[in-house]
């Protein structure tokens, strides 16, 4: 089957002619097979794949830390490690998962791979900068890992002063590593914004861009505007730790709450860096698998920008009980509610997309269902903890831990896995085993719930986060959570096995979903410059599944 078989407009089918002379145009995977051709490539697709290798590796590292934490919390007292080790492990779990996995996961892997394909461009605007961002990321990761191996740090990933300024653990290299990774994030963000502005192919107007592009665009805006602030802050804390620079030195009039303001000015929007691309992925997938245009395209597009903008000014809700003023709590409380509304709009429109659609319940769609669940409950618990008085008992308990794992891990992991399955044929031209896909999706969705629903409850009961030992009354729920975590781990192992198998022995496919996203209009895997021949044009909007015979009369501009 060719990707173009159901496309009405011939102008939009660069893949069509590509199919015939396949032999003359090697895919990006086979165009150059030396190690050097990979390491020094400027092809956005290869950079995306290299990001994938590293990001998955760090996901494994972070995941192992997570399992260690869960095993330690099986019993109220010490289980497998001492308190110092535990404090380091949860810090490294946070640092690795956030800076090395969550932030680059979807933008740097799928964004890099898909953005130019979805815009009909040959590459991103600055291909060499793109490669540089990969190596900057690796340099930062190297620094951070070196710091971890040299003792690690025990501050928690939030690095709150004055603790981070005084602790004897190796804070500086890890902070500096995170600072360097920030540059990588900025470079990727700049590249995506410029690409979206300048590289759109003829026919792709702003409101005909795939929603994934909108989401990446909004994400990039956050990356560019927020990351420098944390960069500066990390430098200041490093200087404080190494040289006692004194910017937040309490004894000399410095204010630790000011640190928290600057920290959350980045770290709250950073949550949207993690989750907005997930929203983008899911907009694509719900369209492709229900064969429908997205319900309320503009509402979804604008709400991405709305989240990016308003999300910046809700940071104070992390500080309701930190000594911040009551007045500020009120202001940030209202803004938090607005962010919630933007997310609600998206959820309603995704569900609306299915209306009068044609749903195929395959693996990516199964993840969409999980995603919907985690977004609704993660989002609503977010609104709950953002409700000022409710945050007082919940702040810094396991309820908050469960909440942010639901929204920024649950939703993002669902999207990450959905994207991995949905675009696996696009990336490698191979198909995985659908049955195993559904089985592992079930394991992961159930495992995730089994891990974190008990954490909501133990948080309700009052268990604070970052506890090495805890009163015995919390044990039952902690055991339940650990059991769930093992289920989750098992699900990931299944995925790793069958995807690796599919990579080698998978069936050759081109567009197994019959999807009409722009990225499917070229062959799978795509050739080096994404399409062969002259610049294609895109007369139809993406995901246009209307019967061409009916299309004439029915569709007017949205």
């Amino acid at each position: 089957m060719t990707p173009s078989s159901s496309i009405a407009a011939p102008g939009a089918v660069p893949g069509h002619e590509a199919h015939d002379d396949h032999g003359h145009h090697p895919s990006y995977l086979t165009d150059g097979t030396t190690v050097k051709s990979w390491l020094l490539t400027v092809d956005h697709k290869r950079i995306g794949i290299m990001y994938m290798v590293w990001v998955l590796l760090f996901f494994l590292v972070g995941g192992i830390f997570a399992l260690l934490i869960r095993i330690e919390l099986l019993t109220p007292g010490p289980t497998i490690m001492d308190a110092m080790t535990y404090n380091r492990v949860f810090t490294l779990h946070g640092v690795v998962m956030i800076f090395l996995f969550m932030i680059p996961a979807i933008p740097s892997i799928f964004g890099n791979f898909l953005l130019p394909l979805m815009l009909g461009a040959k590459d991103v605007a600055f291909p060499r900068l793109n490669l540089l961002s990969l190596y900057v990321y690796l340099a930062g990761a190297g620094f951070a890992l070196w710091g971890m191996l040299n003792g690690g740090l025990d501050t928690g990933w939030t690095f709150y002063t004055p603790y981070s300024a005084h602790t004897t653990t190796t804070v500086a290299p890890v902070l500096f590593g995170a600072f360097i990774i920030g540059f990588s994030s900025i470079l990727t963000g700049m590249n995506f914004i410029v690409t979206t502005h300048t590289m759109r192919a003829p026919g792709i107007t702003w409101f005909k861009m795939p929603l994934m592009v909108w989401a990446l665009y909004a994400t990039s805006c956050i990356q560019v505007l927020a990351t420098p602030v944390i960069g500066l802050l990390l430098l200041l804390v490093t200087a404080e730790n190494l040289f006692s620079l004194g910017m937040f030195d309490v004894a000399r009039g410095g204010d630790p709450v000011l640190f928290q303001h600057l920290f959350w000015f980045y770290s709250h929007p950073a949550v949207y860096i993690m989750v907005l691309p997930a929203f983008g992925v899911m907009s694509e997938i719900v369209s492709a698998f229900s064969r429908k245009n997205i319900f309320g395209y503009r509402a979804v597009a604008y709400s991405s920008l709305g989240i990016a903008f308003v999300g910046f000014f809700a940071w104070g809700h992390h500080m309701f009980v930190s000594g911040q003023s009551t007045f500020n709590a009120g202001v940030f409380g209202v803004l938090t509610m607005l962010v919630g509304v933007f997310t609600a709009i998206k959820v309603f429109n995704w569900v609306g997309t299915v209306y009068k659609g044609a749903v195929e319940f395959s693996t990516p769609f199964a993840y969409f269902c999980g995603f919907l669940f985690f977004t609704v409950f993660g989002g609503m618990t977010g609104i709950a903890v953002g409700t000022v008085s409710l945050d007082v008992p919940w702040h810094d308990t396991y309820f908050v831990v469960a909440h942010f794992h639901f929204i920024m891990v649950g939703a993002t992991i669902m999207a990450f896995l959905a994207a991995l399955h949905y675009w696996f044929p696009k990336m490698f031209g191979k198909m995985y085993h659908e049955g195993w896909g559904l089985v592992s999706a079930a394991f992961i969705i159930l495992g995730f719930n089994a891990t974190f629903i008990p954490q909501f409850l133990v948080g309700n009961a009052g268990m604070p986060r970052r506890y090495y030992e805890y009163p015995e009354r919390f044990q039952a729920l902690n055991v339940a959570s650990t059991a769930g975590a093992s289920l989750l781990a098992f699900g990931f192992i299944i995925i790793a096995v069958y995807l690796t198998y599919a990579l080698i022995y998978g069936e050759r496919v081109d567009n197994p979903w019959h999807s009409k996203g722009y990225e499917w209009l070229t062959m799978s895997p795509p050739p080096t410059h994404n399409f062969i021949g002259p610049q294609p044009t895109y007369p139809e909007e993406p995901h246009f599944y209307v019967d061409p015979k009916k299309a004439e009369g029915e569709v007017s501009d949205v």
Partner: protein
Amino acid sequence: MSSAHVTPGSVPGPKLAAHFASLEVQKHAARLGMWLFLATEILLFAGLFACYAAYRFLFPEAWAASSRSLDLTMGTINTVVLITSSFTAAMAVHYAKEGKNAMVGHMNVLTLLMAVGFLVIKFFEYKHKFHIGTLPGRYYFYEGIQLPGAPLYFTVYFASTALHALHVVIGMTVLAFATVRAYRVGDFNANNYTQVELGSMYWHLVDLVWIFLFPMLYLV
């Protein structure tokens, strides 16, 4: 990647990278990229401005007293030097558009000289502070001002001026590349001046930051 054809036309233009549709797009992309980068720089300094604002708000007396301990003459000279260097950087772009490569080089050399001058003056200011003890945080040992918040002022002072000086050095590097190209290759013209333009944009940003740092630190 950048091995594609040269645009047709009477004046030779820059190379067009293969992935861009046209030279217009390429220039647009470069310029937009630069603006985004400058935005990140502005936000980088914003963190320090926020620290400044917060502590000045809390300790107005100590800050007024501390800012008076600074050498206003040196600060003013530095401001004038930096504004003038910004002017020469702008002139470099102007000449680049007209294709006068020698003038581009001269202007950039003037800019670089003034940048060095700026750093030298800054060095003497620092030296004086190390001498009298108006130093950040715990290193503060100046007896003249014993108000709560005074060491914080110098933390902010050193952090922001050091970061700014670092940007001066980076800006000098960028301008030096454009200068060498103007003298050696001499291919800047109305169609091809992006390198000079972006370099001087960066330099203007350095100037812009100082325009705000100067009154904040020296005058109020």
